[in-house]
Amino acid sequence: MSENVTLLDPTAETSPAMRERLAPPESLEGLVIGVLDIGKVRGDVFCDEISKLLGEKGFTVKQYAKPTNTRTAPTDLAQTIATECDVVVEALSD
């Protein structure tokens, strides 16, 4: 395996060196919430319950599932979620 690559920061270095995470929305009001089952055992049970609870609170929920937990989500699935949802719960269960 090769070593890490060092890059020199081209910016004014006013932001942290680590990539910043997107700020969470201030409110979920009016947003479409995706719930992604990543394919681990009984993840579907967990995701169904989460979706049910969110639905009871009046949120719009869409459910998705990855074919397998061992690989990253297929591009088509990732694009579908990005197009249809404002936020996503990526569920892990074990």
Binding site: N4, V5, L7, L8, D9, T11, A12, T14, R19
Partner: protein, 485 residues
């Protein structure tokens, strides 16, 4: 970036030789090495390419070139005498007298020539000194280091950190940045200025990092540095050029001998793709504004539509026919001096008048296109850059027209009757207010017409590039800077 590796130990006293098998002089000296091994203080030979060389004396493996780097070896063989850790003498290549004096032995290399030059040290092969400086030295680079995982794609990492203009960038590794800095004589930590919109402190090193990312070669760096200095001139008003809803971005015109020296295109497709210097110098400037200044589209950059040249637009003027002075000379730069001019311009509009054979006709024809810049019914105060193609320029050349004469003709052709431009005229609401009725207006502000020459030899073509709606003192004015070293 501070040194991280403990130096390889070298003897405090005695003789050391740095050699390589690939050098005929080094291999010729086998009997000399054997003789020198008898030196009381000892002999250590460092081999740059083959630890089994030489045969006569066991060598220390210096294939990673650390000792060669630390002793600043430029030629092999090099013989050095050390005393208490200090170098007290050095012989470069083979010269019997010098070697004997340094070794304190007579009769070295009996039967060999008196003198034979050596070969280049592997530590100074092209591109190698920068690799060795990063590995063993103190590079004096100050920029923050960002680690990218071994399994990650470093080009994608640059995208993810927001360092790209939308196209892939060359990952700015310390080695690449050091190589880029070889293109200038300036100190990497020299301050260039404060880059808008955030007015962030910018050094030569930061410009070099962004020049690497844009794809520049080191010899382009002086042009990029001059362009950054030009953009910082308050006359150019870069903050305004950036944050306007208008189309404009900085356009760079390069004049002088550097254009040919770095292979810039002033001919066929000069404003198009295909030439590395043209394509990357303007991009480097825009990356400095984006990354150092923080000027990003959708944030401070509020351009409603933008224009494709905002990725970076840079070209050289065609100076092949000296009957008109080069653009930079017109702007006060001494003849023979390289310079870059920044112009806040939008996308280009073509004019392919195929029939005008007199300067009067061609001027009126080009003026018809210029009148449409911004809006056909908007005046006065526009800027325009005419990028005049070769065959259009020949119309003026054949008639023997000077630049001043041509400018005068344009001034007349661009003097408009306000009555034709009033609001509502032609069924178009846009236009001049009613109080302008009966007056004349100039489409272009005084000093706002710029003519530069570029393009291929075939084609009766010119390009018109409109300026910012706010031009001159109320907005952006052209800025020309000499290109240094």
């Amino acid at each position: 970036m501070r040194q991280q590796i403990e130096p390889m130990p070298t003897p405090a006293d005695g003789l050391i030789i740095v050699a390589k098998r690939d050098c005929p002089t080094c291999t010729m000296l086998e009997p000399v090495y054997a003789a020198l091994a008898k030196d009381e203080a000892g002999l250590t030979i460092y081999s740059q390419d083959d630890p089994a060389f030489p045969k006569s004396v066991p060598a220390v493996d210096d294939r990673d070139l650390e000792v060669s780097y630390r002793f600043e070896i430029e030629t092999v063989p090099t013989l050095i005498r050390l005393k208490r850790g200090e170098e007290i003498g050095r012989a470069i290549g083979w010269n019997r007298g010098e070697w004997e004096a340094l070794a304190g032995q007579d009769g070295l290399g009996d039967g060999l020539p008196e003198n034979q030059p050596g070969c280049g040290s592997k530590s100074v092969d092209p591109g190698v000194p920068e690799i060795l400086a990063v590995r063993f030295g103190d590079t004096q680079l100050e920029a923050r280091q960002v680690e990218v995982g071994a399994m990650d794609d470093e080009i994608e990492a640059c995208f993810q950190r927001g360092w790209s203009d939308g196209l892939p960038v060359v990952p700015p590794t310390p080695v690449r940045v050091l190589r880029m800095l070889q293109g200038t004589t300036r100190d990497p930590q020299e301050t260039i200025g404060e880059i808008p919109p955030n007015l962030s402190h910018c050094t030569v090193e930061k410009v070099a990092i962004n020049a690497v990312m844009a794809g520049c070669k080191p010899e382009y760096l002086p042009v990029v540095l001059a362009a950054v200095e030009a953009v910082l001139d308050p006359k150019f008003a870069m903050h305004g050029v950036l944050c306007t809803t208008h189309f404009v971005g900085p356009i760079l015109v390069v004049n002088g001998p550097i254009a040919k020296r770095i292979g810039m295109n002033s001919g066929v497709n000069a404003l198009g793709q295909g030439n590395r210097a043209n394509s990357t110098i303007g991009r480097a400037l825009q990356l400095v504004i984006r990354n150092v200044g923080g000027g990003r589209p959708g944030e401070i950059d509020r351009s409603t539509i933008g224009n494709p040249g905002k990725v970076g637009l840079c070209f050289a003027e065609d100076e092949s026919k000296p009957i008109w002075k080069p653009f930079s000379e017109e702007r006060g730069i001494a003849a023979g001096t390289s310079a870059v001019t920044l112009y806040a311009g939008e996308g280009l509009m073509g004019n392919f008048d195929q029939l005008s054979r007199t300067p009067q006709s061609l001027t009126r024809s080009l003026a018809m296109s210029i009148k449409a810049i911004g809006h056909p019914k908007r005046a006065p105060g526009h800027d325009v850059m005419i990028v005049m193609g070769h065959e259009h320029f020949c119309v003026y050349e054949r008639a023997g027209w000077t630049r001043d004469q041509t400018m005068q003709e344009f001034d007349e052709a661009l003097t408009l009757q306000a009555d034709n431009l009033l609001r509502g005229v032609g069924g178009v609401a846009e236009g001049l207010p009613e109080r302008m009725a009966g007056k004349t207006v100039k489409k272009v502000r005084p000093g706002g017409l710029n003519i530069v020459r570029a393009g291929g030899e075939a084609g009766l073509m010119s390009a018109l590039i409109g300026g910012w709606a706010a031009s001159g003192e109320r907005g952006s004015d052209l800025v020309t800077k000499e290109i240094g070293t």
